[in-house]
Assembly symmetry: C2
DNA sequence: GCGGAATTTTCGCCTAGATTCGATCCGACA
DNA sequence: TGTCGGATCGAATCTAGGCGAAAATTCCGC
């Protein structure tokens, strides 16, 4: 069972932009269909989980027949694979970009930004990220395996964020980094379980509130 | 598709202890088999999700043949239904009991205890609770519906806990209860996604650490 | 031991879902 | 207008899994 991405035939000349660019913008006509399928899959995976989602559902949502999917993907697993990839890459890049854009600000501010971006990616941006976060834990080992490195890298990135803040004295010295990161990402990730996707503006507020809780706690001073 | 529990025929006389007591201890001989099935199901549901789990897997883990399951349950859904029920009931009762046992202590201590008990229920006690927490979000609406009241009740219970603490001044007045509860339960619930079930003693430590984070935050004083 | 109830197995039915594959449809291009 | 290849359809295949029910087996009180 090959999990690799289906080899695109022909495609543009040699000076092409490169099929699916890292940013995920579809290029050629057919890349668009491919993308539609992935988006439908991500949405359904997020809502129902991987195995509860049927190819016919995906096809239906993409306004296509089930068989046609095989023109783009080798298998259901191959779809999942790419959904997972895009999900983490998306949020990872988004957070990195946000911090880069922010330039030279306090560590607390940086963490606050990371929180906001992570939440936005999870709740607004795309279904890829939320699908990833939500279904990853229930996948069979051989599927998780391939994505573990990326997850680790993302975790490390957050650890660095907290570590720098602690070095700079903005986080107390007695706080352990890894448990902290687990705690923070956990509460953020859990939002996919309850957040109602009705009012998009709330994400910013939610992020701010989370930042305050994490930094200042709830106890009276 | 009836979701009700299969009617046990005959069973003991009228002065019996009542089949499956609320505490979940099996009584009659056959209740034991029934329980074994439920435990296997809970474990598998937690690991793989509901629809990825097959009746044959459940049966296998319960050292029984798949067909036999229908002697105890009307359908796969009926199993799920009871797993969910036991899960939440279990943790709810455990938390209530722990707080009752604690008697008259500070609100912070009460919340700390609730955290510890919730975590223990999730990570040590039974697969029922973790299965519930983990798969609930991906179930089709008609399945979630039946369990919503219980979930709400549990949430309310935590709200009360925080509210009392705030009234007593142990939590700052500007902290909003509902977001706080969501935040706290979120970070606790997320532990099922990563906690390695190897070292059981860590739960207590984990609980304490969580309590500290929530109350005092990470910022330097 | 016996008889009937409780349990469990055996054996498949039957549907749904993944995958396959040849037939078609359509737009670009000569 | 005819041809070509990419894109899609639709029917068929194959298999796993939920479900059921009769047959086989175990239990137990008398």
């Amino acid at each position: 069972m090959p999990i690799r991405r289906k080899i695109r035939k022909s495609s543009a000349s040699e000076d092409d932009i490169g099929a699916t660019a890292t940013n995920g913008t579809p290029v050629s006509k057919s890349e668009k269909s491919r993308d539609t399928i992935l988006e439908a899959a991500a949405k359904l995976f997020r809502q129902q989980g991987y195995s509860a989602t049927t190819l016919r559902q995906i096809a239906g949502m993409a306004k296509i027949k089930a068989g046609s999917i095989y023109y783009y993907f080798d298998s259901k697993e191959a779809i999942l694979d790419e959904v997972l990839d895009r999900g983490l890459h998306g949020i990872f890049e988004a957070v990195k970009a946000a911090l880069k854009r922010a330039g030279d600000v306090s560590h607390r501010r940086r963490i606050g930004l990371a929180i906001e971006t992570h939440l936005a990616g999870l709740l607004e941006a795309s279904d890829f990220t939320s699908a990833n976060i939500r279904i990853y834990g229930q996948l069979p080992e051989h599927l998780k395996k391939r994505h573990r490195p990326l997850r680790r890298a993302y975790a490390k990135y957050w650890d660095r964020l907290f570590l720098d803040a602690r070095r700079a004295g903005e986080i107390r010295a007695d706080i352990e980094i890894v448990p902290l990161r687990i705690f923070v990402l956990g509460s953020l990730n859990w939002t996919v379980e309850w957040f109602s996707f009705s009012r998009k503006e709330d994400v910013r507020k939610l992020a701010r509130r989370t930042e305050l809780l994490i930094f200042d706690g709830v106890a009276r001073r």
